[in-house]
Amino acid sequence: MSRRIAFNFKLVLLAVTGIVFLFPLVVTFTNSFMSEQEITLFYRTDLSYFDVLEGIEQRFISFRLIPRDFSFAQYRMVLIDRPMFLMLLVNSVRITAPVTIGSLIISLLTAYGFTCWKWKHKEILFFIYIVVMLMPLQAVLVPNFIVADWLGITDNQWAVILPGIFAPFGTFLLRQSMKGIPAECYEAARIDGAGELRVFLYVVMPQMKSGIAALTMLVFIEYWNVVEQAVVFLRDFDLQPLSVFLSRIADGRAGLIFAASTVYMLFPFVWLFLGQEHLEKGIELSGIK
């Protein structure tokens, strides 16, 4: 009996915490369906003439969860009437897609080299990989900038994409996952005369499905949320991803921001619902051991 009470107590505690955690998203989502007038009513903080007459000294923002009249006007504005939003969204895709795919290919190969080959100084090089991985972006700004300058890609999305593709994190994560494959597997294949490409494609790759899914997920989430790199390397507004400009896109018009944010959130959301276990796997793998 007391176990049941304890269970229910925990359940309620978690449910309340969960509601608090979801509150910001629920507000963003439901308010994106509000009409412009309703939004103005709730998010206006400057005093009007009537407020002064009625003796109101200060107006506060209050959140309303359910829109009074349901409207798609904000979405129409964001998706059709204002091409700027779509342009920035496309920029986000143009940065995230190459980084996700590119880093996956590079990391699979490097992780293979680190796991399935024996060579001198492997451990030392890998430790350097980890150290580079731990650096916050600002610490590697100068070397990144020098390389971008040398390649002639400053003020170009490639200045954000290339460091993303060659980031050591992917190698680290896939190596963690590849270490789970028993060495006998690829050694047996080698003894049977399979070349490295064959071993990689037909022995290692089929066992990497969950590692690949986990990395894809983590890299996508990271680059869909890209801010610092874009701010530093892309001076040109036309090249910016939406993640930088979500809150400024609509000169402070709340309804548009909510609608744009909802559209932007939708992408990682779909990913999360399709592959929650992959994200969990990715987090577990990224624990440095």
């Binding site: 963003t28 916050p136 610490a139 709340a254 959130m265 929650q276 969990e280």
Partner: protein, 247 residues
């Protein structure tokens, strides 16, 4: 203008210049303070959440999902909400006003650090939670059954089984939390810009701003010191983890 490549050997003068710079001292202090507060706070809360979620049976995946959602939401998508929440006339001050308290300047005063802690924990709790949950599920069931047979109470079981078994993963969570605590810069930058209130001016602000003002010697000296600090911390914690998992 200083060029990043070339130039001549300057000895330690860049480092002396850096360490004497008030902006560097401020950024370093705030970063250390934020780490010192956010890391234990996030670890305690996520451990608590993991202990609760562990026994939830069929509800377990749903709760994990709820705490993972903030992690995947792009920071920019929440900036406007946080502003509405924490601004002078925001939602929180609205509640304060209703219960008769004075409003607080959440974004541009000493309280900005608290605001950041709230946002940081909201966003990053799920990460630690998953690690702790995997640590908890790795504790052999037999340990608990044996404790039960011996008539150990809940507190005793917690102290003698759960915590010791969680020690290795706790060190890993600690290391990841230190690394992840740098990510708060994204929120500070989006919410408060490149020159926020001095209580939340981070090391990353210092480096970012020096990059924009083309002061490369300062930036690279700061980056070098940070790299050394990170190597020492990582090495130390990995050593600790190895020790913890052998005992």
């Amino acid at each position: 203008m200083t060029r990043p490549v070339g130039g001549e050997f300057a000895g330690l003068s860049n480092y002396i210049d850096l360490l004497q710079s008030p902006a560097y001292q401020l950024g370093l202090r705030n970063t250390v303070v934020f780490m010192g507060l956010s890391v234990p706070l996030n670890m305690l809360l996520s451990l608590g959440a993991a202990m609760l979620i562990k026994d939830m049976g069929k509800f377990k995946p749903i709760f994990v999902l709820i705490f993972l959602i903030p992690l995947v939401i792009p920071s920019g998508a929440m900036v406007f909400f946080w502003r509405m929440m924490f601004s002078r006339n925001g939602f929180i001050n609205n509640i304060f006003d209703m219960v008769g308290l004075d409003g607080i300047n959440w974004l541009n005063s000493e309280y900005a650090m608290l605001t950041l802690l709230i946002i940081f924990v909201w966003k990053n709790l799920g990460f630690n939670l998953v690690l702790f949950l995997s640590g908890l599920s790795n504790i052999p069931k037999e340990y608990y059954e044996a404790a039960k047979v011996d008539g150990a109470n809940a507190l005793y079981t917690l102290r003698k089984i759960t915590f010791p078994c969680l020690l290795p993963i706790t060190v890993i969570v600690l290391l990841m939390s230190v690394i992840n605590s740098f990510k708060v810069f994204r929120e500070v930058y989006l919410l408060m810009g490149s020159h926020p209130h001095e209580s939340v001016y981070m090391l990353q602000h210092f480096m970012n701003n020096n990059f924009h003002s083309l002061n490369y010697p300062r930036l690279t000296s700061a980056a070098t010191l940070l790299s050394i600090a990170m190597v020492v911390i990582t090495w130390g914690l990995l050593w600790l983890e190895r020790k913890a998992s052998h005992e």
